[in-house]
């Protein structure tokens, strides 16, 4: 059963929500297993998977060599032949090492075989800067994957969404890339004890508003919500829409909100150039053009490799203050 929003009398962290989703799906379906570096006893460097190997054993929570292309490729073959692998790519920055397996194999197999073969696998990985990890451990590469037909791309922004969306991802018959925000693992939120899933392609209105629409993904949802709070003090009512999946994209909810408010900013932690912000801004421009009172604004990560020095790194990603400032400008309140 899918539930419209998070109402629960229990709070758990984002990491716990991910772990619960995996544990529940592994109990439900013996075909589900986890493959990746340091996933078993270590439970990943972020400890997201801690405890799973104790319950399911190393047969189903399997440590691999440091071979992203190899184990992702193995997952593709396993998925084609009856299993449901969940691959763990330790950092989103390592996706490029597995890109042939994801882009040329997983994403193409169903189409190239005229629908005869399927690849029901999940690639779990992460995104997000500001952990002072520099350019090779900080990227948000979800736009790269969203570009490829055949892949679905999921960007949960709360513990509730993470659990419901991951369960849906595992049950999906297609390759799904699931991006978790590294900074969010300790974030707590309401998650019901009972079984639920969240369908793909259904945006969530994280906050209702009337003056401006902030479309925000993953790590930027919290930023947009904080911006909305700032704006409230200025008498600007911001609506925050979280698409939750970039593929499939719930264009309708986004466009409807933009039509209602007449103004929109798209905030995403990927690079701004050719990115998710560009795509969603064009969806809004095409769908809500006659209702817009201002050009659609995009706010992504700066088009530079993520720098190490905090003094520089903090400049590269959108902040609540900068989003609020941009919103005020769009509303003519500078």
């Amino acid at each position: 059963m899918s539930m419209p929003s998070a109402v629960a009398d229990r709070e758990i962290t984002f990491a716990q929500a991910v772990r619960e989703a995996l544990a529940e799906e592994m109990r439900r379906d013996p075909a589900v297993f986890i493959l990746g570096e340091d996933v078993a006893e270590a439970g990943t460097p972020f400890k997201v998977l801690s405890g799973l190997v104790e319950e399911f054993g190393t047969e189903r929570v399997t440590d691999t060599p440091i071979s992203e292309a190899g184990f992702t490729g193995i997952a593709v073959g396993a998925a084609m032949t009856g299993l449901r692998p969940v691959v763990d790519i330790m950092f989103g920055d390592f996706l490029p090492l597995a890109m042939d397996q994801i882009v040329n194999q997983a994403a193409k197999v169903h189409y190239m075989s005229g629908g005869k073969l399927r690849v029901p696998m999940v690639v779990r990985t992460n995104l997000g800067a500001t952990r002072r990890s520099a350019a090779q451990h900080s990227q948000s590469l979800h736009a790269l994957l969203s570009h490829i037909p055949g892949l679905k791309v999921v960007l949960p922004s709360t513990p509730y969404d993470a659990k419901g969306l991951l369960k849906t991802a595992i049950r999906d018959e297609n390759p799904v890339v699931f991006f978790e925000d590294k900074l969010m693992f300790h974030l707590k939120g309401p998650v019901p004890e009972g079984e639920y899933t969240i369908p793909f392609g259904v945006a969530d209105v994280k906050r209702q508003g009337t003056d401006i629409t902030l479309v925000a993904t993953s790590s930027m949802v919290q930023v947009a919500l904080a911006a909305a709070q700032i704006l409230e003090k200025d008498g600007i009512s911001a609506e925050v829409i979280d698409p939750r999946t970039t593929v499939p994209l719930d264009a309708r909810t986004i466009v409807e909100s933009a039509k209602k408010t007449g103004r929109a900013i798209v905030v995403d932690e990927g690079h701004e150039r050719y990115g998710v912000t560009a795509e969603i801004a064009s969806v809004i421009a095409e769908g809500a053009f006659y209702h817009l009172d201002a050009p659609v604004k995009r706010m992504g990560a700066m088009d530079v490799p993520v720098p190490f020095s905090p003094a520089l790194e903090d400049l590269t990603v959108p902040t609540a203050e900068r989003v609020a400032e941009a919103a005020r400008a769009l509303c003519g309140r500078t």
Partner: protein, 337 residues
Amino acid sequence: MRRTAPRTETQQADALQGVAREQWLAMYEQMIKIRAFEEQVNELYRGAKMPGLAHLYTGQEASAVGICQALRPDDYITSTHRGHGHCLAKGARVDLMFAELLGKVSGYCRGKGGSMHIADPQSGNLGANAIVGGGAGIATGAALSAKRRGSGQVSVCFFGEGALGQGVLYEVMNMAALWKLPVIYVCENNLYNEYTHYSEVTAGELRARPAAFGIQCVEVDGQDVRAVYATTRRVVERLRAGEGPAFLISNTYRYFGHHVGDVNRAYYRSKEEELDWKARRDPLAILADWLTGEGLADAGTLEEIERRARAEVAAGVEFALAAPYPDPGEVDQHVYA
């Protein structure tokens, strides 16, 4: 003319004990069918009836046939850009393959894959792959899946020696060895990576590469279907007993160019070399000589087999030429399951 004599190792003789005459004739039929199939592909290309290009398997028939004959119908294979022989040997139908080559909706992949992507899960074929080394992960994953499901299936990863340049192959070989996966890495060494002799781009000894992972390596005369079959049978037995992966080097030669359009080849290999392989190492002739020499078949029997195979191929071409193209509405079908 003297042709490479079949090997007489005792192990091979043991493996060949009890192989019925019918099975040798079936192998002959498969080999001649592949040869006739590829001749027709070339004709379709030259007659501008086939979109794109194709990479012919002619000359290498004994490799695919000898290996696939040693497999169960539900065993897996992954194949390459030069994949028609693997597909046919594993049990694909000629007509549906031609239809795919012509981009017709009746083809194996509804015309969406073409020559380099034929997949036929029914015969265990997880697909040809146009990325050199692209099948390595898939084949190894299929072996992992077979092992976890306890199905007893094995997985065969066909690739040309050019794939030895791809890192992912070594990544998955490492895991296959660690986890004792039932997969055979079949390196079909036809001496050329496109237009470059493999020795120019391959350091060290081929056999040292699987050896580094503790993977058993066997090498066969890929022109002698009896040797290929006998060796593969032994290897498959080991795999089914859970002894882990194997690496099989099948030494072979492609008669035509890298693809159908590669007709002027003098800059990378000599006419003499080509003629020598065809004259002394032709897989069909080697088997035919042995069959007649042993009194297992006379010339008439073999001619009858050839006639049957050619008729099947001709009918397949006719079927494909008459088959419809996909409707425009197909274009966005099967992007997602």
